[in-house]
């Protein structure tokens, strides 16, 4: 099918984009990579009257490595992250995760900011943002504001973005001594994952001193699993995967759908937590 007619506004600065969104009203949409929005438009599930194209905004495509955080512009493509944007444990995690986002031609266009704004419950970047405690930076008519990932992602396909705001960057904390792991289960490579987990571990002399664990697929949005974090903390690295997985299985009560039962989702979540924790426990540690 073909999309409904719309007015197209190409913008070259964030301020221009915000102004265009404000003038266009409620049913305008931001066009970033377009790899979720355009299929919806082709199927006429989305019928925006105005499309504000942010692709020409060069400022949104940058990557900055600061002393305490890695900042990704909203338009950084999945493919760039897959090819590698920064060294160290976090850069390695991003490369690994990016390779699981859809298929290569989709990764060439699709962007990290678009993925966060779309807030698909199976989106890998939403999971990573929650697991790592990312800050999502938004621009609106009143200027910039930042929200923690858990506050930004309100539910399935639902965020704290106002109609005249756009995502401009995601800031990921760089934590010295931390290592990361990711795992997901999808029926075929590149298709939407049924469940997934992202884990950060602070390792001191082979013992888990700090831990962040998030899963996706078990509710309408990526969620941290405090019970699993507590179970892994204080344990030797090699005992952490089983402890975290067991706590995940006990803590979660996901709602099944169709043939995907609640028990199956719990088992998948626990298995991906085990694999992601094991990957973190044996992986690269972030340098100082």
């Amino acid at each position: 099918m073909k999309p409904q007619s719309f007015a197209y506004v190409a913008t070259s600065t964030v301020e221009e984009a915000v102004r265009a969104l404000g003038e266009a009203g409620e049913d305008a949409k931001v066009l970033a990579g377009g790899q979720s929005l355009v299929p919806m438009m082709n199927l006429r599930l989305a019928r925006p009257s105005v499309l504000v194209d942010i692709n020409p905004i060069a400022d949104l495509a940058g990557v900055e490595v600061g002393p305490a955080r890695l900042s990704l512009g909203a338009l950084v493509r999945h493919r760039s992250l897959e090819l590698g944007v920064s060294p160290g444990a976090l850069g390695r995690l991003l490369r690994e995760v990016a390779g699981h986002v859809a298929e290569l031609p989709v990764r060439v266009r699709g962007s990290v900011g678009g993925s966060l704004a779309h807030a698909d419950p199976a989106a890998e970047w939403c999971l990573v943002a929650v697991a790592l405690g990312a800050e999502i930076e938004l621009a609106g008519p009143g200027g910039r504001r930042s929200l923690g990932a858990e506050e930004f992602l309100e539910g399935p396909f639902s965020t704290a973005l106002a109609a005249d705001e756009l995502v401009v960057a995601v800031h990921l904390p760089l934590r010295a001594g931390w290592a990361y792991g990711f795992a997901e289960h999808a029926l075929t490579h590149g298709s939407f994952a049924q469940a997934g987990a992202c884990v950060g571990l602070e390792l001191l002399d082979g013992v888990v001193a700090g831990c962040r664990i998030a899963v996706m697929g078990t509710s309408g949005r990526a969620e941290r699993v405090p019970a699993a974090e507590a179970a892994a903390t204080g344990r030797p690295a090699e005992a952490a995967p089983d402890a975290a997985a067991e706590a995940t299985r006990d803590a979660l009560a996901p709602t099944g759908y169709g043939e995907v039962t609640s028990d199956y989702l719990r088992a998948l979540a626990a298995a991906t937590v085990r694999r992601a924790t094991a990957a973190a426990a044996t992986g690269t540690v972030e340098a100082r």
Binding site: M1, K2, P3, Q4, S5, F6, A7, Y8, A10, L31, G34, Q35, V38, P39, M41, N42, L43, L51, D53, N55, R79, L83, E103, L104, P105, V106, V108, R109, T188, H189, G190
Partner: protein
């Protein structure tokens, strides 16, 4: 209607299109480049894959107006000076097509990715090639001859990392 100037297969082209015209429709209906096929029009099948500034993209998920100032390469331009691209020749020699509907998408996907690997100096393993061809749908071949062609082309281009 919006004026768009872009480069298609090495030639500067100017088009007047509606904003909602996808790159795929502009190529097929306005420029007569019907080698690019449209299957699902929702980004799932990959039949419409073309190269945008050398990278494989789904042309059904891109509006023609977004391509102003960019360079597009379609299957029609993979061969140069009468010589098939190594991927095209491998498809021919390995019988990597049956009905042929999906073939232009596979050719652009593989040619774009392997050419880029040559530029980057990277190599692809069996698993990389399997994941790559999984981006597009073929309902005839069962993929084995497509993988055989991909391996042959990658080897010929010096970007194949053979197992063991």
């Amino acid at each position: 209607m919006i004026e768009v100037s872009l480069e298609v297969n090495g030639t500067a082209r100017a088009l007047r299109v509606e904003a909602r015209t996808t790159l795929a429709d502009a190529l097929r209906e306005r420029l007569g480049l019907t080698g690019t096929h449209l299957g699902c029009e929702q980004g799932a099948c990959g039949a419409c894959t073309v190269l945008l500034d050398g990278e494989p993209v789904r042309s059904c998920l891109l509006f023609a107006v977004q391509c102003a100032g960019h360079s597009v390469t379609t299957v029609e331009a993979l061969a140069s000076e009468g010589l098939l691209h190594p991927v095209q020749r491998a498809f021919h020699e390995r019988h990597a097509l049956q009905c042929g509907f999906c073939t232009p998408g596979f050719l652009t996907l593989l040619a774009g990715t392997l050419d880029r690997a040559v530029e980057l100096g990277t190599t692809l393993e069996e698993r990389d090639l399997a994941e790559l061809v999984g981006a597009n749908l073929c309902r005839c071949t069962g993929y084995r001859p497509i993988l055989a062609a991909a391996r042959q082309a990658a080897a010929e281009m010096g970007v194949w990392s053979a197992p063991g």
